[in-house]
């Protein structure tokens, strides 16, 4: 108890210096926490995608289509419950800056495969009935102020022309992480138009989504699908939805790695700042340490005092930082909602935050502790600070 009191008193001796250090550590912990969360968000699309849905696409690369006739052949494979299909449409709303994902899909089977798209029954029926209908996520509707019945026009970048859709439904995600910035419309609308304008691109599908009866069959079904179309004009590549997403993320891995490195770098910077504070503190108190040794306190005592003070300062900074991370994340979530589906701090990040704060305290204390513990009494007393 006595030692704890001494620690706190010592820490508060230089109020200005201590508070500056605490602010520094708090800022670093907030930055660290938000960067870790950003990395988590990067992977969240993959983490929340189903492992029991398969995506089949052309083996050459995503931009090559598959014939529509594959649908019925995939359906015959044992273990396949449902097959849906669609195309990445790549339409632009007004301007390139307003980017959001838009797909042409076969509506009934697609909505069955994606129970996380929650749509009121009458809106769902209206969407399926209207070939020019489309549905969008709540966030997207809020962003552009769309209401049901509105006309939405997209300019096709892959499929040329102006495409008009009638908004028939606004869906919500079943979970917080479900992407709500997507527009879905009828694949038939796309296909019928292509039949008229460029017949060679008609009856071509960008991807198949396959629902499996039991999740253990995924690997088997994926192999069977790919085996069925081997050596055909359009060979397929089938993987789980999760693997498909991870493949995309892997392509931008360099950026994720950079963010990760930077998140550790901020901790290193603040370690240096804290180490500096502690070094200065210890230098000023060398005479005191010598006096305490004269009074009979051992090296261990002094080590505990210096070390404890450093940890104390670091943990206060860390605690403030953790508390500030939450409002920071909420601010990002509301301000930048068009970039991230959700930006919530995970418990793991909080633990990492506290661990980092602890590390800062420990590393900063190493050198001063050693100095304080090993100082020779005569030498310390002789010093005029």
């Amino acid at each position: 108890m006595f030692i704890l009191k001494l620690l706190i008193r010592n820490a508060l001796r230089h109020k200005l210096r201590t508070s500056l250090t605490v602010i520094g550590i708090a800022i670093a912990i907030v930055a660290f926490g938000l960067l870790r969360t950003l990395v988590g968000v990067w992977y969240s699309g993959a983490e929340h995608s189903s492992a029991s849905r398969l995506v089949t696409r052309n083996a050459i690369s995503l931009i090559f289509p598959l014939p529509l006739s594959y649908k019925d052949r995939i359906r015959q494979i044992p273990g396949v419950k449902a097959v849906s299909y669609g195309n990445w449409f790549g339409g632009i709303y007004r301007d390139e800056k307003n980017f959001f994902a838009n797909y042409a899909v076969e509506p009934a089977s697609y909505l069955d495969l994606y129970p996380e798209i929650v749509l009121p029954a009458e809106q769902k029926a209206a969407f399926i009935r209207d070939r020019k209908g489309c549905i969008v996520g709540q966030k997207l509707a809020d962003l552009y102020g769309w209401r049901i019945g509105d006309m939405i026009t997209l300019r096709g970048s892959i499929f040329p022309g102006q495409w008009e859709f009638v908004l028939r439904g606004i869906y919500r995600g079943a979970e917080k992480s479900t992407e709500e910035r997507v527009l879905l419309f009828h694949w038939d609308y796309l296909n019928e138009t292509m039949k008229k304008t460029t017949p060679r691109r008609a009856d071509q599908v960008g991807f198949y989504m396959i629902g499996i009866t039991t999740p253990d069959l995924t690997a088997e079904v994926a192999l069977k699908v790919d085996g069925m179309f081997r050596n055909s004009l359009a060979e397929t590549l089938t993987e789980t939805e999760r693997a498909f997403h991870l493949g995309f993320i892997a392509m931008t891995e360099a950026i994720v790695v950079a963010i990760q490195i930077v998140s550790y770098m901020v901790i290193v910077i603040i370690m240096i700042v804290a180490a500096n504070t502690m070094a200065m503190t210890a230098r000023e108190r060398i005479t005191e340490y010598a006096t305490m040794k004269t009074l009979g306190f051992g090296a261990v005592h002094i080590a505990v005092i210096v070390f404890g003070e450093s940890i104390f300062i670091a943990m206060i900074g860390g605690a403030i930082g953790v508390l500030l991370t939450f409002p920071g994340a909420r601010w990002i979530e509301t301000e930048l909602s068009q970039y991230f589906p959700s930006f919530s701090v995970s418990p793991g990040t909080v633990y990492l935050d506290l661990l980092a704060a602890c590390m800062i305290g420990m590393v900063a204390a190493v050198f001063p502790t050693w100095r304080g513990a090993t100082i020779r009494i005569a030498e310390g007393l002789r010093r005029i600070g």
């Binding site: 200005l16 210096r17 500056l20 250090t21 602010i23 520094g24 800022i27 670093a28 907030v30 930055a31 083996a59 050459i60 690369s61 995503l62 931009i63 090559f64 790549g90 632009i92 390139e96 300019r155 096709g156 970048s157 892959i158 040329p160 060679r200 050596n231 004009l233 060979e235 590549l237 493949g247 892997a250 392509m251 931008t252 891995e253 360099a254 950026i255 950079a258 963010i259 930077v262 770098m265 901020v266 290193v268 910077i269 603040i270 240096i272 700042v273 180490a275 500096n276 504070t277 070094a279 200065m280 000023e284």
Partner: protein, 388 residues
């Protein structure tokens, strides 16, 4: 009269450990600051260097990349017959009808697949792109299943090296050469004969038509005519503009990320500098009193401490910049979101970035040092002399 400059420098030298710690904190901040700017600059330089000002690229209207575009054979021939197209030595137009698609190939080392651009080139493609030079092997023979790989592809991807084969479109393609297009997007591509590739991919249309202008000033005239022609649903862009547009999103992301990080980091470093300078002032109260008693003015004391802090910042800034300059040897390869294709680029240090980094470190030193320096200058002589 001012206090000699050496006073400030020697103070830093006397407290070496603290100086080194504070300066290295600042060095790291400057390092991050310049590294992100260098990355954005490298990306933009790569994509801008990819195009030439006198070359015009014609793609389908509203397509943002060559991969999305499609140009029918008939349309390509109409472009070929335009009077603006320059004529080469052999009397043929300097025009290339090309096919651009993406294929998936695994990277060496990690075995993770990435999207690689494969470009079907015609006879005149090389003449239009003087940046691309063959460094090894030979160019593919027209009508054969041979390809040449860009340098970044040869190093980073399976089957990209000379003598290796890549399989796509139900055929094996032998890599017969490696070309180097310097720091341009072409270095991340594979090139083969356009007619062979169109057959293999069963795509009966070209992706883009690129040609050299006979007279650079006639671009606008050409653009209005082409885009007004009802037979063509195409648009024309200068190549430089086209590639710059492709780098915009990514460069913006890098800059925003870099700026945010730098602001946060610099707060930490400024606090570090402030702690150091406050301590420097606190330890020297008696000394400051003596200086004042000797007749140095408040202003001189202020200047001496601000100078010390600025110098601290400069040391940190130079060290950070020095380490950042080593990054130029590193090449990053990632997917460009706008084209979905793999692109390799390296950190590029420009003079602009160098001076910005140094100025930034001086600002950090100044902000960190000005408050402690004010405290030193405002000290009462008698009180200061009494302190021990």
């Amino acid at each position: 009269m001012g206090i000699p400059y050496s006073y400030s420098f020697r103070n830093l030298w006397t407290r070496r450990l603290t100086t080194v710690l504070t300066a290295s904190g600042m060095a790291l901040v400057v390092f991050v600051f310049s590294a992100t700017l260098m990355l954005a600059a490298g990306l933009q330089k790569t994509l801008v260097d990819t195009g030439s000002y006198d070359n015009v690229i014609v793609i389908r209207k509203s397509a943002t990349s060559e991969v999305q575009s499609g140009v029918e054979r008939l349309q390509a021939s109409i472009i070929e017959s335009q009077p603006e197209v320059a004529i080469g030595e052999s009397g043929q137009p300097l025009l290339a009808k090309e096919l651009v698609v993406l294929i998936n190939i695994p990277k060496r080392g990690t075995n993770k697949p990435a999207n690689v651009v494969i470009r079907g080139i015609s006879a005149r493609s090389l003449l239009l792109r003087p940046q691309a030079k063959l460094v090894e092997g030979r160019m593919p023979k027209p009508g054969s299943a041979e390809v040449v790989a860009g340098k970044s592809i040869a190093q980073r991807f399976h089957g990209g090296g000379i003598g290796e084969t890549v399989r796509f479109g139900m055929r094996n393609w032998i890599v017969v050469g490696v070309f180097d297009a310097g720091n341009t997007g072409f270095s991340s591509e594979i090139w083969g004969d356009v007619d062979q590739l169109m057959q293999a991919f069963r795509r009966p249309v070209y992706s883009s038509v690129t040609f050299k202008l006979r007279d650079s000033s006639r671009f606008d005239e050409f653009k209005t005519r082409i885009e007004g022609d009802p037979r063509l649903t195409l648009e024309a862009k200068r190549e430089t503009r086209f590639y710059q547009d492709q780098s915009e999103m990514m460069a913006k992301f890098l800059r925003i990320l870099g700026l945010t990080l730098t602001v946060v980091f610099s707060l930490g470093a400024v606090i570090g500098a402030m702690i150091t300078m406050y301590a420097a002032v606190a330890q020297r109260i008696a000394e400051i009193g003596t200086l004042r008693a000797l007749g140095f003015q408040k202003g001189s004391i202020l200047a001496a401490f601000v100078l010390e802090s600025l110098f601290l910042g400069l040391i940190g800034g130079s060290a950070g910049l020095l380490f950042a300059s080593f990054l130029q040897f590193i090449t990053i390869s990632t997917m460009n979101w706008q084209t979905f294709a793999e692109l390799a680029f390296s950190f590029t240090l420009t003079f602009d970035i160098a001076w910005k980094s140094l100025a930034f470190s001086l600002v950090m030193g100044f902000v960190g040092g000005v408050l402690p320096a004010l405290r030193a200058a405002k000290m009462n002589i008698v009180d200061a002399l009494r302190a021990s």
